[in-house]
Structure formats: structure tokens, C-alpha cells
């Protein structure tokens, strides 16, 4: 078993155990005066555009008590207010830019139930609904450009499209065409990306839109920026809707300026001169306040659970969506 897989399972098992049930574990020690947070994956936020982190405690009736704001890092020490002593749970939220109120935002990032003066913090129950962890095997994504096949025949510009559905359903856990994702709390949304040269300073993050699974967990409708200038179908003004999130990066009917000299149709199978695939498929989880981002200004948030090299496989060869738990924030809280 790889270290990554072990870590993923450990995190998932840990958070599952910690998140199940109500916040009715052993309360924080009555004499605790500080909250010590050990955090993974909480990079510094831009206060002007991304807001700030804030720690909270919650009592048995779900009443929140603000503990303090911070701007990321792996170790954070905060003074525990008198009113927070005896708390049952610790939460970390992302407060939107300009927020100054004393109630937690809908962007609840981490949650942990206090047990023996400690709480294992995870996105389960904060970002995801109930006790549901992020799905380990959501399904497949597919290189495909459905909207120009009727026009140009098949295959046309298949290397210019990315769509979120199971091209080979029999290889999937659910056995059907629909990707399944964990349902999110109202403050969050999924967003799909194709990223060129991920990890490099000049990486290009090209969003194909935000989307949410339906009440069954199935991803069964177009993404909500699917009608953007160059996203979605070949011409969003005249063509019908697709039933899955994704884009055909074929046409640019409104003449939108593409980033960094990209030109359409894209070749998502593009490789470097040494043969390394340049494009990576990523699904992030974003605060819903980014839902109205203008096309081209989208930026990825720090929750990036699904990340897979696009590779050079042809159309119809399924690419499996892989959970990378190491790209999901987590942590531990200690009350001292």
C-alpha cells in the first residue's frame, strides 16, 4: 500500500470516527485556556479575495463561540475565551473577505468532536454533509467533444473536450454512467479544471465550471458556467444543453481572450518535449461566494481532493478520478 493511500485511509477512518454522531463527546476541560491547532493544507489566504480562517468552539446545543482568526500555517495557538470552556466541538471556518460578524460563515472547513481534550479535525461534516467522507471512487472522466460530432462526424476534436461521466460504466463501483460525489454543505461547490503544467509557476488553471451532485450524489447536470464564452458546448447560444459537467474547448463564439496564448481547439493530450503529459484534471471544492466569478478570473481554492494526469489515452479510454486525501485540509485541536 502506498504511503498516500495509507494516509488517505487513515484520514478517512479518523474523520469518520470523529465525525459520526452528534457533538456529544467529552467536553473540553473546564480549566483549558488555549486552543492549539496543528493543521495540514491550510495555506495562507489572500484576505482581500479569499477571506481568513477563524476557529470556533461549539457547545452541546450547537452554539458557536469565536476563538480567533488566523491566516493559515501548520501550527496555530489561540487563547480560549472563558465562554468556550466546556465546548464539545472545534470548528474552523473560512470567513469571507470583509466579514466582521461573530457568527460562523457557511464555509465551514474543518470540524472535530472534542474527546479527552483533543479533536481530530476534518472536512467531514463541515464541507461534506453529515458523516459522509469524500468518495474514494467517484468514477471516471473522459476526453470527448460531444457537441461537434454531429457537425463534423466522429471523431472530431475529441482531444479538446473533458466531460465528467463514466465512459466504461462496468469498470465503476456504481455500474452506471453517472459520477457520484459526496454531497456538500450549502457553503461549498465542486469545480472542475483542466490544469496545464500543474505545480509550476506558470500553470494555467482552466475552469470548466462549478457543479453539485443531485440529492442522490449523482453528477447529472451541466456545470453552471457551462454557458460561458468558450465553455460548454460548441456555441452556448444555439446548442442544446449537455447532461454532464464539462467543456468542449473548440469554439470561442464571443472572442474571449484565452489565457497565456492558448488557442482553440485545445489539445488536452499535449505533452512536453520529453513526452510528459502537460494537462491534469482536477476537481476542487470552492466556497460558494466564488460562484459568480467572471469567466477567466476563476482561481482554485485549497481543497483539491481529486487530481489526475490527463495522459495521452484516446477518446473513450476511461480515466479514473482518484482521491488525494493529502490535498484535503485536516488537523488536530488540543485544548490546554
Amino acid at each position: 500500500m502506498t504511503a498516500t493511500k495509507t494516509l488517505a485511509i487513515a484520514i478517512l477512518v479518523g474523520v469518520w470516527g470523529g465525525a459520526c454522531g452528534s457533538d456529544a463527546a467529552a467536553p473540553a476541560p473546564p480549566d483549558a485556556t488555549s486552543l492549539s491547532l496543528t493543521l495540514n493544507g491550510l495555506r495562507a489566504l489572500d484576505p482581500a479575495t479569499e477571506g481568513t480562517y477563524e476557529a470556533w468552539t461549539a457547545d452541546g446545543s450547537g452554539q458557536f463561540q469565536a476563538v480567533g482568526r488566523f491566516n493559515g500555517g501548520s501550527a496555530v495557538e489561540l487563547s480560549l475565551p472563558q465562554a468556550a470552556r466546556g465546548a464539545r466541538a472545534v470548528w474552523v471556518t473560512v470567513e469571507p473577505p470583509g466579514d466582521a460578524d461573530d457568527t460562523p460563515s457557511a464555509q465551514r472547513l474543518l470540524r472535530g468532536v472534542i474527546n479527552d481534550a483533543r479533536a481530530e479535525l476534518s472536512v467531514v461534516g463541515a464541507v461534506t454533509q453529515g458523516a459522509s467522507p469524500l468518495r474514494e471512487h467517484p468514477g471516471q472522466f473522459t476526453m470527448f467533444s460531444p457537441s461537434d460530432n454531429a457537425l463534423n462526424g466522429y471523431p472530431s476534436h475529441e482531444e479538446a473536450g473533458i466531460w465528467l461521466f463514466n465512459m466504461q460504466p462496468r469498470q465503476t463501483e456504481q455500474g452506471d454512467m453517472w459520477v457520484r460525489l459526496t454531497q456538500l454543505e450549502p457553503g461549498w461547490t465542486y469545480e472542475g479544471w483542466m490544469v496545464r503544467d500543474i505545480g509550476q509557476a506558470n500553470a494555467i488553471w482552466l475552469s470548466y465550471g462549478k457543479f453539485l451532485p443531485d440529492y442522490t450524489g449523482a453528477v447529472n447536470s451541466r456545470d453552471d458556467t457551462g454557458w460561458g464564452p468558450y465553455s460548454g458546448v460548441i456555441d452556448f447560444r444555439t446548442d442544446g444543453e449537455e447532461e454532464f459537467p464539462g467543456d468542449d474547448w473548440i469554439s470561442n463564439p464571443m472572442g474571449y481572450a484565452l489565457p497565456n496564448g492558448l488557442s482553440l481547439p485545445l489539445n488536452l493530450r499535449e505533452t512536453t518535449s520529453s513526452g510528459t503529459p502537460r494537462w491534469t484534471h482536477v476537481i476542487t471544492i470552492e466556497p460558494v461566494w466564488n460562484r459568480g466569478e467572471s469567466i477567466g478570473s476563476e482561481r482554485p481554492f485549497l481543497i483539491r481532493p481529486y487530481m489526475d494526469s490527463f495522459g495521452e489515452a484516446g477518446p473513450g479510454i476511461p480515466r479514473t478520478i482518484t482521491l488525494h486525501a493529502e490535498n484535503v485540509p485536516s488537523g488536530r485541536a488540543e485544548l490546554r
Binding site: G153, Y154, Q168, Q174, Y215, A218, G240, E241
Partner: protein, 472 residues
């Protein structure tokens, strides 16, 4: 004594378990006369019997033997892998290849249409009948000539695979491969058809390297397969499916019209009801009674049921809907068939017969269903009430009767005949497939009831044919 009793019991358990788990010989003995079984496109199994194979110790036979010995002495991991891959029932790999292709093209609908429901069923029937007839012709020749397998004829040849306990000439793997490759190339001309023929060559080579067939067995098998395929393709070209017709829906208020979200204007295969059938006389032979129309009590009741389901649909119900909406319904049943062939450890002829029977019944079911769909042209529920919440998109063709219901009922009857121990299970599966369309909100209940009745009649026609096809 008590101890001995326990030991005996444990031993018995072990024996019982071993029996349950150990491979059982396929029913080859019951297939000895398969050369006389009724065929689909050939007049009979002996119609294309090849000339006699080279006699033992003849120069040709010795040349064949030396080739096997040479190939086996030069084995590599790659050739061993090839041998293992084809060490399977002769139809198995081709069936999977066909299903994979249909699964792929199903996802391209409605823009690219080789795998519409009725075309998927047609292709499966063509491939499966071709493989079956090729095997019947092969069995005719095998027992006419009774050639021993190479590994039995010369001790220098190693049997790397089980030759199946049947005479080696002609090679059944080669016959099926040539038949399937040619039919798939016809059905998917825009695919890399060379891939099919590479697979065909691999299938033959693997049997030679494995010591199960002489090269002359493989060549004779190829000849049989190609001849069968030529006849299947000739039938296919004349079955009416190539006609390109643009139809105009009736202008009545209840007539079918494009549905959201894609608003596809051209319905799938409007003339499929006139395509040539396999087990029934024609697509309109069993046409159901007219459906209830808007304004009737039954129509209102069934539409209201869908509106209610749209408000209360559970996750489990939605998952059932999606399961049956993924792939053409015939593909789902073909996968069930693979499971049953393995479960019952059918020999190659019985397996091919079962596949052909089920797929021809399903093809006819959809032809008959499409006849009714485009005879009655009934609107979809989403057109009757735009407030309806469907679980999946409504497919672009008229509502009455349901294709899933017709096809699944027909398939279930054939399965019930072939696998009586599982009859109840498959009839329940057919009910599930049928109900899934109501749960989806894309069919009225009267659509599925009419489809089930039609499908059962077609299934019965297929079973009637099976009862007299000579198989035991």
C-alpha cells in the same frame, strides 16, 4: 468414534466444497451432434463444410506439426500471454469486444448513432448469430473428419491449453474470430477495423502456439467464419436498417415532439419497425392495441403517478433508473448472459446458441416496439406535463410502448427457458427494468404494460424456435 465422525464430516464437507468449486467439464458430450443444430443464416451446418484436413504424417501435416514445435520452442512472455488470453470459450472475447464498443457509442448518443437501442440490439444479433452459425459449421466438420489435436497426435507438441476434448479441424476459435471480426468491421466501419482483424489473427495464432490447433485447422476455421460472416452481412445489408428516412411527426396535439434538455429533432430510427426480423414474421405482426390518449381516465391516472414519483423519488429508485439507463438494455442482458454461461459452465455451442437466441429475441422485440412507437407516435410524459421531474433525460423517440419493457420481457422469457433454475430471478429483473422507466418519469405505466405483453410474446416465439433447433 465421535472423533472419527467429526473427521468424516469435515472430509465430506471438503469434498463437497471441492466439488462445488472445482471446474466442471463443459457439456461437450451434449454438443457432439451440434453440427446438425438449426442455423440462422446457413441452410444447415454442413452447407459450407471444408475439404478434408491433411492426413496424419502427410507432408502438410508434418509441416503443421513442425510449425507448432518451432513456435513453442520460441515462446516468450508475450506469446504466453496471448495464449492465455485466448484460452477462453471461443465467443467470450468477441462478446466483450462487442459490448465494449456498444458501451462506448452509447455515450455518444444522440450526436453519433450507431448504438441507438434498436441498432445495438441489431448488432448483437448479427454478431451472435454469426458466431453461432460458424460454430455449428465447425462442429459439422469436426465430427465429419475427427482430426486429433496436435498435442494428441505428436508427443513433441505440448498442450499449453485445453483443446476442449473435441476434434481439432477446423479451429472453433478461428471460425468465431473470422466471423466476428468481419461482422464488427461491417457494423463499425468508422472504427479501427484492422484491430478486429489483428484480434482474429491473434486468436488463431494463440491456438496454434497453445498446441490446440494445426495451422490448417485455423485456416479452415477462418474460411468458415468468413463465409458465415459474408452471409450475415448480406442479410444485414438487406434488412432495411440502411434506409435513411426523415419523418415528420403527426400534428395532433398528443403527438411526439422533441423533449428537454437537448430537444433532439430527429427521433432515433423511425423506420426500424420495418426492419427484417429473426423470430417473428414482421415488426407489425404483434402490434399492441392503441394507447390511452390525453383526456382519458387512464392517461390522467398514469401521468399523475409520474408527477407523484417526481416528488418522492428515493436515492435507491434513482440508482435503479440509472442502472437501466446505462447502456442499451440489450447490453445489460448480454452481460447477464455471460454470467449465466459461466454459472452453468455451458460448452461453446450451448453458449453461442443461448447468446444468439436471446439477442435475436431482443432485436425483434425492439423492431416490434419501434413499429408501435412510430405507428402511434404518442408524446412523452414530459411533453404532456412540463412540470414533471424526470430522473434522466427523456430519450428522443415516442413513448408507447416502452423499449426497455419490451426487450427485457422478451429476454427474460428466453432466459427462463434456457436457465429454468433462474427463471424467477430474470423475470424479476425484467420487471425491474420495466419499472425503472416509470420511476424515471419517462414512460407511462401503460407504456410498460404494453411493452411487457409484447415482449413476452416475442420471447415465446424465440423459445418456440429453440425447442425445435436440435439442441439438447
Amino acid at each position: 468414534m465421535k472423533c472419527l465422525g467429526w473427521r468424516s464430516a469435515i472430509a465430506l464437507c471438503i469434498v463437497a466444497l471441492a466439488c462445488a468449486e472445482s471446474p466442471v467439464e463443459p457439456r461437450v458430450a451434449a454438443e457432439r451432434d451440434a453440427g446438425q443444430w438449426r442455423t440462422w443464416v446457413l441452410p444447415n451446418g454442413s452447407a459450407i463444410r471444408p475439404p478434408a484436413p491433411p492426413v496424419d504424417a502427410s507432408p502438410q501435416a508434418m509441416q503443421d506439426i513442425e510449425e507448432i514445435i518451432r513456435l513453442q520452442s520460441a515462446r516468450t512472455a508475450a506469446t504466453d500471454s496471448l495464449v492465455r488470453y485466448w484460452d477462453a470459450p471461443p465467443t467470450a472475447r468477441w462478446h466483450t469486444t462487442t459490448l465494449d464498443l456498444l458501451e462506448f457509442y452509447w455515450a455518444l448518443l444522440p450526436d453519433v448513432r450507431p448504438a441507438t437501442p434498436v441498432r445495438s440490439a441489431r448488432i448483437l444479433a448479427l454478431v451472435n448469430t454469426a458466431m453461432y452459425d460458424a460454430l455449428v459449421a465447425t462442429w459439422d466438420a469436426k465430427y465429419a473428419y475427427m482430426r486429433r489435436a496436435p498435442s494428441a497426435a505428436d508427443t513433441r507438441v505440448r498442450a499449453l491449453v485445453d483443446a476442449g476434448g473435441v476434434p481439432s479441424y477446423p479451429s472453433e476459435h478461428a471460425a468465431v474470430a473470422a466471423a466476428a471480426a468481419a461482422v464488427l468491421s461491417y457494423a463499425f466501419p468508422f472504427e479501427d477495423t484492422l484491430r478486429f482483424h489483428r484480434l482474429e489473427r491473434d486468436a488463431g495464432d494463440a491456438r496454434v502456439i497453445g498446441g490446440a490447433a494445426y495451422r490448417s485447422d485455423v485456416d479452415a476455421g477462418y474460411a468458415i467464419g468468413r463465409e458465415v460472416a459474408a452471409r450475415v452481412i448480406a442479410r444485414a445489408k438487406a434488412d432495411g436498417s440502411a434506409a435513411s428516412v426523415t419523418v415528420t411527426p403527426p400534428t395532433t396535439s398528443w403527438a411526439w415532439r422533441p423533449t428537454p434538455p437537448k430537444w433532439v429533432k430527429d427521433p432515433f430510427d423511425p423506420t426500424a419497425g420495418s426492419w427484417r426480423t429473426w423470430v417473428i414474421s414482421s415488426g407489425d405482426a404483434l402490434r399492441p392495441v392503441p394507447p390511452p390518449l390525453p383526456g382519458s381516465a387512464r392517461f390522467t391516472t398514469d401521468l399523475n403517478e409520474l408527477l407523484q414519483i417526481g416528488k418522492t423519488r428515493t436515492t435507491a429508485q434513482a440508482d435503479t433508473v440509472r442502472y437501466w439507463a446505462t447502456d442499451a438494455p440489450s447490453s445489460r442482458w448480454e452481460v447477464f448472459m455471460d454470467d449465466e454461461i459461466a454459472r452453468h459452465r455451458l460448452g461453446p455451442l450451448h453458449a453461442a446458441r443461448a447468446m444468439a437466441l436471446a439477442s435475436t429475441a431482443m432485436a425483434d422485440a425492439l423492431i416490434a416496439c419501434w413499429d408501435a412507437k412510430f405507428y402511434f407516435w404518442l408524446e412523452r410524459p414530459i411533453s404532456a406535463d412540463t412540470a414533471l421531474k424526470t430522473a434522466i433525460s427523456t430519450p428522443p423517440f415516442p413513448s408507447y410502448p416502452s423499449g426497455h419493457s419490451t426487450q427485457s420481457a422478451a429476454a427474460a422469457e428466453v432466459f427462463a427457458y434456457l436457465f429454468p433454475d433462474r427463471a424467477a430471478y430474470y423475470r424479476q429483473k425484467a420487471d425491474e427494468a420495466s419499472s425503472s422507466r416509470v420511476l424515471a418519469g419517462i414512460h407511462y405505466r401503460f407504456d410498460i404494460e404494453a411493452g411487457e405483453e409484447l415482449g413476452r410474446k416475442i420471447g415465446a416465439a424465440a423459445v418456440e424456435r429453440a425447442r425445435s433447433d436440435g439442441a439438447r
